[in-house]
Every structure is written in structure tokens, then in C-alpha cells.
Symmetry: C2
Subunit: 478 residues, 2 copies
Amino acid sequence: MKNTHQHNLDFLFHPNSIALVGITTATTWHWTRTFLEGLIEIEFDRPLYLINPKGGEIKGHKIYTSLKDVPGNIDYVIGLVNAQIAPKLVEECAEKGVRAIHFCTAGFSETGEEQRIKLESELVEVAHRKGIRIIGPNCMGIYCPQSRLSFSPAFPKESGSVGVISQSGGNSIYLVKLAALRGVRFSKVISYGNACDINENDLLEYLANDADTKIIALYIEGIKDGRRFRRTLEKATKEKTVILLKGGATEGGARAAAGHTASLAGSRATWDALCKQLGIISVGSVEEIIDVLVTLLFLPLPRGRNALLFGAGGGASVLIADEFENRGLRVPPIPPEIVAQIREFTPIAGNILRNPVDYSQAMMDTESVIKTIGILSRWEGADFLVLFVRTGQFTASRISDNQLKNLLMSRFPIKQGQLPQPVAMVIEPSIVPEEAEVILAAIRNSISSGLPVYFSFATAANAINLVLNHTEKQTRKF
Amino acid sequence: MKNTHQHNLDFLFHPNSIALVGITTATTWHWTRTFLEGLIEIEFDRPLYLINPKGGEIKGHKIYTSLKDVPGNIDYVIGLVNAQIAPKLVEECAEKGVRAIHFCTAGFSETGEEQRIKLESELVEVAHRKGIRIIGPNCMGIYCPQSRLSFSPAFPKESGSVGVISQSGGNSIYLVKLAALRGVRFSKVISYGNACDINENDLLEYLANDADTKIIALYIEGIKDGRRFRRTLEKATKEKTVILLKGGATEGGARAAAGHTASLAGSRATWDALCKQLGIISVGSVEEIIDVLVTLLFLPLPRGRNALLFGAGGGASVLIADEFENRGLRVPPIPPEIVAQIREFTPIAGNILRNPVDYSQAMMDTESVIKTIGILSRWEGADFLVLFVRTGQFTASRISDNQLKNLLMSRFPIKQGQLPQPVAMVIEPSIVPEEAEVILAAIRNSISSGLPVYFSFATAANAINLVLNHTEKQTRKF
């Protein structure tokens, strides 16, 4: 059943034309519209055809009543039709010379119903016979900003170095959207669902060879061919950093994965051993993938595990020190001669010059903050610097915008590379809309200064530890 | 040195008059103003005097140049003066018949400097000699909505059943503010800092006997008298549920605690053993305290560990099932006859009727959602129901307000107690201000329906597991 050109999936990412077959004409918010809106937003600049037997138009785009009515060639089809007519659509696509179909359509093997498992086999059989490759079914397909492919209008237009292979569509949207807010940009993101034809192995091989992809993040529920997957992973980890989130790692999760993408999940121990052997960064959530990504992308690799923590709040200082040390990082004491230098211009009451440095009372004095960070950054006992802002301990709305800006450290932007040590930033978000705005501005300010931004003490410590673990292992390997 | 009326601290929480000594006249945003603004906001309705040698007025309140100029009696003083003059202030207070002083003032033993350690001893000596009790120094003092005491204008005016003893002022503000957004209300919150006179034992004894307090949350950096603390804790756990966050549980954290409140932290193993023995819920962060609080307050105790999870997203379903099972909860399969009932009116494509129930495609159909939740809630295989909303997987701003409301489940408010099972809600916040508003509305809607709201899959699973662990232990004990 396997197609022979599995290494050469480049055509998938560079179609000359696209048809959206089965896009709804009834409601503007229907899920089938996501693809049109995604392609418009990312400025897809080759022919784009809409197909629905009812005809009509959407946003000035004519709707053809059938594929064969389309005047030009069609390279790539996004299938939004009902599952039952999917095999028939493949036949029609063959007549138009279509090379690949992404079936977003659900209702196949993932339902667990015999008839629908058969329907998926039938789909594969027709596609194979006609020489058409299939992504899916039951997935979101391809996001590739370079060639202006997208499946959500919320995705960034700029390219980056992160490639993603996600069995789940929702998880891929969640990952791209949340990571984009943290400054991450992507080369190729593929949501591949039931993997009836093109599967995780084909995609992983492709990304391993893709010059635009430096880091590969995987969300996998189950695999089709364990031995090949291991081989491919091994190859991928030689060239790139690989992060893996295994969905369905528990009994309940595995049952959910079976219902989601008809996957056999495999035991947890097997996956853990695989990650350990191959030097893959193994994580437990999408949020953790994002934390590791911002660390890999924006934190120049610290020489060691000694953290210097700087922020406001005595209690917050104790807790962040605990979070860092609990995760295998160290928070060493600052030598008295350095403390003395800072003490010269810093009042003793309410500012605790240890590590963490609690600059509670002096935080409004921008000049002192800059001076102190400068002194601290010259201390060789620290391998990296973490600035932390616990917004929830402010007395809120009573604080003026200006003060809030100072407290959020946006009045003294530190550019990555400007200090001797790598710098990370922890800014805790707020669910209160009035606070969210100024906090988001501070987050964006830090990102544009090249800093990794984390949303909590624990997640910062966790991600930095995972990346240091990974590097230490890599170093030992060579 | 110990005062004899240690069991009878009630007078601290019900002063007939208050003087703020050392409030600044220079800038409106100065930290000393927090106390005035807190007391105004909570509508403190007894005499309130401001003292500063410069005189003048703030917001229509006359500023007296000294304590002795105040015409009336003064019960309680909030000391905002410099550390050096603190002992002198105690002498002046004695002349006015003051019973207790809360010293917010920092710059005592927590600096580690000999001269300032001596200054703190001197302060204690004068206070003891004059028969005045001291809270602090280096802390925020008392929040007691019932008697209209507060140290932040951001705190709720309504009372609740949670008592808090926090060595850190910042952590107490953080805890109250963030917990308030989740629907938690407090009986008494005390930030007690260096504990030079009134300490954790006095306060714990008081709260253990306080009829208004049902749950006690502790943030402790170090203790003065280990044996007494153990005895007091043991007594407290017999009457109330106790949650403990130990700050300074690591080497680095302990050093920070020493610098923060001059505390000796004690080994981690000792604290863990103590919590285990006494049936205390031990947590690692303030956020975890809050998650446990909303569980204790708003989730009627589930009879067991079987969760029924309902939401949208195939990938999200797999991950939430993993998070729950990883934390000792169970996500059992739903029997075919129940699935069949739901299948009657739910399309097969894009809705996965397992556990979790992924209602992705049907979520906009309010009637079906209500019907499905009704059917599921009658299944005896589940001990509690968790509704989850992963906002980050929506295609964002393109979704109308109305749809967002449906997806956030705010169109079908389920009141706690209305279904046979306890119900919990997971709503993931967003850092994007435009989304924050509608999400906060959904959060508030759930809280007003009596539901515990969690901000992530992991934190929901963790808190429910901690509370079930605690109850199971309690049951075994009796």
C-alpha cells in the first residue's frame, strides 16, 4: 500500500493551486470556512477554487458546482465533504490531475464503527490506485507560512525554524497560537489525524531533511510502524532538536486516543525509554512544548545551572528559589563584596540583597535597578539571570500605568546579548482584562528584546532544566 | 518574654480605633498609603487617625503631628515609621493606651545585620515591658472583612470561611487577590513577618478556635517553637482542614527565607513527615493553595475517583485524560447503552462519545449539550463531572461573541447541586485582552453557579486528587 516517493513530500508544501471542496455556503462561522479565512489571511497568491454543488459565491470568490467545472489545474484539494462521499471525491480529483488531498473530514476509523473503518480502507485503496497522496482524514492539514498555506486566520505570516507534526488538529492550533504569542515562528506545521496514507514517519523524515526546520516538535497519539519510527527519530535527533509530547500515555488517555485518531498508544515505559536513548526532550503538555521552544530559541545556552534571580517580593523570592532548586537548578548566595557594591545606593529596609535579589522598595527607581542588574551580571558565580514579575502581588488598579510599567520592568528593556549572561523573564499574566493589556505589552516588549518569557516560576525552572538536561546528555554523547 | 494572654487575641481583630503612624504626605502612590486606601475601601467605620510630624491632610483626613495630639483613644497602631524609631513609637503608644501595634516597617533582623537584630530585640523588650502586643515587624498585618480591617484596596468586602496565616505580606496579597477572583472569601488573613512577638503558634491557636474559620491556609517560612507548633497544628487539624505551603523547602529557598523573615527553615523531610502524620494538605505554591481551596469550598465531595470529562477537542481530550490519570484519578469508559442514547441526536463525525466526551462539532447546539450532560450525569460509573474549555484552540477573534459564549458554556449554566454528581469547570484563561473579557465573564458565571473553576487540566486534576487523598486519609483515621 505504501507509496514509493515517501521522501519527496515537498510538493505537499508548495501547491500551485488549491480547491476547497465542500465549503459551506450556509453560515459564515461554519468550521469549513476556517480554511478559506486562513488562506486569505496568509495571502495565498495562487489560484484558489471553492466547490459546492449549490454554487454561489463567498467574499467575491465564485463557487464552482463541481471540480470538473474548474477551468485551471488543481494541485491540492482540501476535502471538507461528508465521509461517505470521500472515496468518490478521490475519483473526481484523479480526473483533474490532483496530486494530494487533505481530508479534514471526520467520521472514519476513529469512530470505532466497522462500516466506517471499511470506508477509510476504501478511501486509501482508491487514493493508492489513482496515485493521489492523502493527509488525514480527521485533521487540519498544513500550515507553511513560506508558501502561504494556513489552516487558521490566527496564525502568523512570518516563517520560523520550528517544525511541528501533530496528530491532533486542535492541539496544533493551540500550540501555534500560544507559541506565537511567545515569539515562536514555524517552518511547517502538519496536523495529520488518522494517518491513513501519509503518516508520522513520512512527515518526520521530511522535516529531518528540511533545511528550514531546526527544531521538531511532535504530538503523537500512536504510530503505524514502530521500527521505522525509531529509525526515523534517531536520524532526526542527529540533525535537529526533537521535542515529544506523547498523547495517550495513560490507560484513560490511550482510550481517548483510540477514539480520536484510531491510534494504538503503546506503553508509557516504551516511550520514556525511547526518548531517553535518543536524546529527545520528553514533555507532558502543549504548554511545556512551548516553554521548551522559547528556551531553545531565545535563551543562549547557560554554561551551568547557577541562576541569579531578580525581582520584587520577599515571599515571591523564597518561592521562586524553591521552584528553581526543586527542578535541579541552583540559586547560589551572592558574595558579600557584590552585595556591598549594591548596598551603597540601595536602602536596607525592604530590599533583600541575597539571591534572589528582592528589590521590592527600590523597584520604582529605574536608575538603581539598571545599576544593580549591571553589577549582578558581572558576577561570574551566576550562569544566567532570571528577572521575575509577580503581577498578582501588586495592589492593582490603584497603581498608575507608569508605575505598573516600572514594576513590569518595561522601562528598562534589557536586550538579549547585552549582558555577559543569558537573561530570561518571568511575567505572570492576569485574568483581569484591564491588567491584561499592560502585561501583554510588557510580554511583547521582552520578546522583542530577544528574551524568553515564561508565565510562572515553575514553568521557567522546568523548561530551563529540561534544556540543560538535554544539552548535558548531548555533550556526553560526543 | 511571652505574654500570658496568648489565647485571647480577639482584640487584635476588633480594634475600636486605629492610627496610621508614619503615613507619607509626599507621594500618593507610596506604599504607606496602601493601608489608608485599604481601610477606606473596606469602609472602616470607627475612628481612624493619621500621624506624620509634617501635619497636613490626606483625602480630607487631618494629619496629626504626633500620637499624643490625637483627641480620642487609640486601640491599634499601624506602624509605618523607620525601623530606628520603632522602639520610641512603642513608648509613645504606651502613653496613649494602645493595646497592639502592627509594624509594617522592615529593616530589622531579616537584614542579617547585628545592629538591626539588636534593634528588633530592643523593640520586643520595650513592647513586653509596656504590655503592648506586636505583629511583625516586616509584614502587612490583618485583613478581617467582618470588622472592616484590610491592608489592600483590592480585597473583597465580604467575609468567608478561610483563615490565612502568612509570614509573607506579598504572598498574602497574592493569595487573597487571586483566590477572590475564583470566588474564595476569607474570615481572617494575617501577614506576620518576623514574628518578634505574636507568632505562628499564637495565630494558629486563635484560628483553630475561631468559629468563623473552617479552613486554615498557612504560608510558613520558619517556626519559633517546633514542639508547640506541632501541638497546635495537631489541635487545629482536628477541627479544621489545614493547607500548608512551606517556603524555603530547598537550600536556596531557605537562604532566601533567612533574608526575608530571619527564619530557620527546617528540613524538607521533617515538614513532609509532619503533614503526612497530621493529615495536612501539603502544597508547593500559592496557586496550589487556591486550587485546593476552591475544591474544598465548591466541589461537593465526590464518592470516588472516577471522572467524567466533557468538552471540545480530540487532542485536548487525550491530554486531559492523561493529566487526570497521571494524578491518580480515573477516566473510565462510558457503557455502550449510554453512548447509544447520546448518539441518537448527536452526529457521528467530529463528536467522540467516549470518556472524555469530545463534543467538538455539536458544541454550538445548546439543546444537545444540555441533553447530553443530563444523560451523562445519570451514569453511576462517574463520581464527578468535569467540563473543560480550552480557549486557545478556538480560531480566536473570528469567532463571534455569541459563539464564544456557547463554546465557553456560559449559555447553559449548570448550578452546583442540580445534577446527581459534583461538577467542576476548567476554563483556560487567555493573555489576549480582547479574549480575557469574555473568558472572565464565563469564569464569573461558573463561580456564581457554585462551581469550582480551574485554569488548566493539570491543576484541576492535582487539586481534586489532593482533596480526595486528604479525605481518604481522614476516613481511615476514624
